[in-house]
Symmetry: D2
Subunit: 339 residues, 4 copies
Amino acid sequence: MIVIMNPDATMRDKSAVIARAEDLGFKVHLSEGKERTIIGIIGNDRVINREQIERMTGVERVVPILKPFKLASREFKASDTTFPLGNHTIGGQEIVIMAGPCSVESRSQIIETAIACKEAGAHILRGGAFKPRTSPYAFQGLGEEGLKYLAEAREVTGMPIVTEVMEPALVPLVSEYADILQIGARNMQNYALLHAAGESQQPVLLKRGMSGLIEEWLMCAEYILSHGNTRVMLCERGIRTFETYTRNTFDINAIPVAKHLSHLPVVADPSHATGKWEYVAAAAKASVAAGADGVIIEVHPRPDEAMSDGAQSLKPEKFARLVVEMKAIAQAVGRDVRP
Amino acid sequence: MIVIMNPDATMRDKSAVIARAEDLGFKVHLSEGKERTIIGIIGNDRVINREQIERMTGVERVVPILKPFKLASREFKASDTTFPLGNHTIGGQEIVIMAGPCSVESRSQIIETAIACKEAGAHILRGGAFKPRTSPYAFQGLGEEGLKYLAEAREVTGMPIVTEVMEPALVPLVSEYADILQIGARNMQNYALLHAAGESQQPVLLKRGMSGLIEEWLMCAEYILSHGNTRVMLCERGIRTFETYTRNTFDINAIPVAKHLSHLPVVADPSHATGKWEYVAAAAKASVAAGADGVIIEVHPRPDEAMSDGAQSLKPEKFARLVVEMKAIAQAVGRDVRP
Amino acid sequence: MIVIMNPDATMRDKSAVIARAEDLGFKVHLSEGKERTIIGIIGNDRVINREQIERMTGVERVVPILKPFKLASREFKASDTTFPLGNHTIGGQEIVIMAGPCSVESRSQIIETAIACKEAGAHILRGGAFKPRTSPYAFQGLGEEGLKYLAEAREVTGMPIVTEVMEPALVPLVSEYADILQIGARNMQNYALLHAAGESQQPVLLKRGMSGLIEEWLMCAEYILSHGNTRVMLCERGIRTFETYTRNTFDINAIPVAKHLSHLPVVADPSHATGKWEYVAAAAKASVAAGADGVIIEVHPRPDEAMSDGAQSLKPEKFARLVVEMKAIAQAVGRDVRP
Amino acid sequence: MIVIMNPDATMRDKSAVIARAEDLGFKVHLSEGKERTIIGIIGNDRVINREQIERMTGVERVVPILKPFKLASREFKASDTTFPLGNHTIGGQEIVIMAGPCSVESRSQIIETAIACKEAGAHILRGGAFKPRTSPYAFQGLGEEGLKYLAEAREVTGMPIVTEVMEPALVPLVSEYADILQIGARNMQNYALLHAAGESQQPVLLKRGMSGLIEEWLMCAEYILSHGNTRVMLCERGIRTFETYTRNTFDINAIPVAKHLSHLPVVADPSHATGKWEYVAAAAKASVAAGADGVIIEVHPRPDEAMSDGAQSLKPEKFARLVVEMKAIAQAVGRDVRP
């Protein structure tokens, strides 16, 4: 940790900072420049409360040296995290494709969609049973009934299931049915939920919050990892910016950055990242080219009847064509989309 | 709802939209311009699924006419919502001042701070017992022990308590001790928590999320109001933007806008909105001038020992001076800060 | 144009809006719903001053129907704009690669870099002679001397030149040397410069401003097109958001959106869009997969000696490898990178 | 400057950084921690090219210690910059009020508005003769004719004039008429224009760009100051964020921050910062409470006929009432609005 003192900081101010650091057991190095004095605090600065130091008299600012996350970092684990799911491997050479409707709307709808997705080349089935909705008056999902229909669709198609869980108390119930727990963007920093998902030891798909810094996102993964649950996937789904033509701004940079900083697999969600079906294919192909380990795409047989997110859902035919295109790009970058 | 068709939409596309609206029981008006066809759907468009319509063939975009919130709106209730709390009235002519430390750290710390805040002119005591922290390794609050110390501080000073609740399961426990439940910025769209806070019938201080649109914030208030719990305060605490010199960007516009759109009281949080104690006073005074009904300010007797948010906490002397300045501004805008 | 009236607008307010529209020669349609009155103004609403209408008594908001740009739109010209440059075609089936150093630093540096870029597969040489710099104390470019060195590098390699022009008075001088005028992000809305670039009839590479909406960017292209200069390329180079790990956030969505709204070619600048060389290749490949018609990449033989933007410059070897990867992706999406 | 090395940087990498710094004449301090090596480069780091160092092998990141601006900083000049303008002093104890229409539309319009503003208490007249417009088809201002009308309005009312200049070539012409040159938000980083404004030795009102960091804004002031032109006012006019209910987000924090970092006067523009007349008064009052040295407000006698920015213009009566309110707040914070 580097402490930069104000130009008008007194010797007394500097001594106080040094004494504080030494009391905490750190070695200190003082460097007095012409315009600024710098105090270096040498050691594991994760354990020092940065804001306390910032609030000491004469301190201009504090620069932490170490990344705040540990278990999620490449320094802790250099090699990519991979794990099997169904007949596929997450985080490995193949690109994993998750697809399905935004919401489970009925037994027939989810089974019909699951079959269409499977035929088009999807590996994992997505579908929401508990839905976070901006309006309390909108469809909130079928709840446990929806989970049952998902399980039936899994039986029919053999595809594992990813579905969202929105509150800690429901983690056990959702874990009974789901193969992957999805933490939604609005809940990225719902710490009680992160703890519960960590404890569950289920694979987790952790969406980045609309205004979540990449480092904060990794800190949220750290919450889950700290329970010994290592099967965590990061999911970039677009961030909120001033541009409103698309629903979100797809932060494609986040894919290589997250893979550089962390060993965890990164999945892209081009449906939410664009919010309009016309742009989903371009964003999905870009994800694969940028190094994503998987994609999650909303597919609905009749998007103009979808109870949520119809505008960003692909019809099965378009999705099938997209799988072929993604496979070609995967091969162009030395990876593959397997059957 | 206004549906704008693509320039190349066919008669068949237009008829399909009209038929859909009529099937839903709406009256429709068709307006064919030279460059675009517009279909007006007349009536309460809150019940139509906008995304379904957007996904119909030939539709360019859909413009909703009505605001998505109802109970929170001025149209539903024209006059300001006011309610008593302790010896003061929230939402009325007086400006209510909430103050206290970020976290409850010990029995003595909270009682000492409460007495200092009370003497300086505060009306309500803030203090966190359950703390949302970016890092799983940081101090997470004292939990129920912290709530007990808060209750003791209330006994000593007579000030009502506002404290954060982070998960639905803890709403009953926190409600036993707190006079106001705080929903934090990270949990603005934690719908399970909003439902639980609504059901509790406790006064709620609802912080705006870091990337929450003003309309989304009001929709979150709607979740609480929909349970018949009308004692909801909106709290502007800064939004996340590209500017990083301050911790957040204080959206001062949100104060008059929220008061224009809604009848609910609006409280400003200049501590989080700036993140640096040097700027808290300027932001607090600006809030009062802009029409806020209250402020919530972090105060700590020894900020360089605070276990969280030390950098943005005022010492009691500075806070006391600020109360005097806010009172002068309150009077300049026809309001007051009462003892 | 749709005018939405306040719920409390009077008959007199509505009549005033209708009268105003009719005086301007428009047909009007009135639709009185239960909660809102809507006034439709039918015709080319680009000529009505929206803000005047918004300021009329009783008006809640105004929704324009037509896009504000015309010459830049697909409706004006449905087919892709293409034009030859050197031995290549911009906007056609092939992906055009522009490469070179941020700044021209010396005769030998630009010639050495040009040769390396050409050998690696670049088609067009980039290099700044006039440099916009955040600090008045930083290197501001070699000026006309730099242009002369660029022209020499063109002679040696046969590659056309793209270089930035920063003020209207310099457009004639820069046009003498350059094959493409670059308008930088900071100058996207420098209207005097846009007019001058339009008048020059030179090909223009128009970078998107750091906070430019896609529609505003197209309006800036419209300024150039309105002079009959049709050889305009749009260049997405990242936008400014809350995320600071990368220099900018690459708005990959902007590529398919700009191509959907406009017939103009779209070029991506992964160097500025990421700001760190480690992520340039991922972003460049994503651009090609998303449908960009070209890329512009900073290459420097010794980035740690570059006088500007060293951190985001690729060494020639890395660039050569990237060209091979981009070619593979281009082919995967039915396009090509030609020699 | 602090150089933080990668965990896997070699001795050779570290030596290269040290050698580079020593070659540039700096003293160096090496600190080897358990997880990271830190190299401190001691001295005036403004002259080192940060990006070159960042691009050296083994470097993780570089932290500059000194602020990039000098002449604009409080360290260079501790006391507030003040200067007389007409009968008033900018930057002193009084709050200066600038008012007038967005555009000069006609001789009678500007004279009528000037008289009304003067009567209401304004000190300086604003009005645009050259207008930056998003659309090339919108009214672009009356040009020199507008400047002449402004000069006439000055003669009638005695108020000095502030008006925008958009290109370097027009600085001499605009300077003939104007008392203050305004640099608009879109031109904050138009460096040729900043140089020309600096050379003119005229007072300058420098608006912050829509996505300009506070430090970048001060660097732009530095461009002007570097010509020995010390009469520079900073103008906060709102920044672009995800919130679209208001035209911009008024960054009220920027007022105390700019005054903390710099000795230059700070003016607020609540008209652009909100974009809707309903919220201008709240924002103007907040500006004064937050410490602004002046405000600039759009006033139009008939906003629904204004040729630009009608939606955010106040009528003279409302403006007159606002001046009274601002005076009360000015006095509450120990300042004043003088006649």
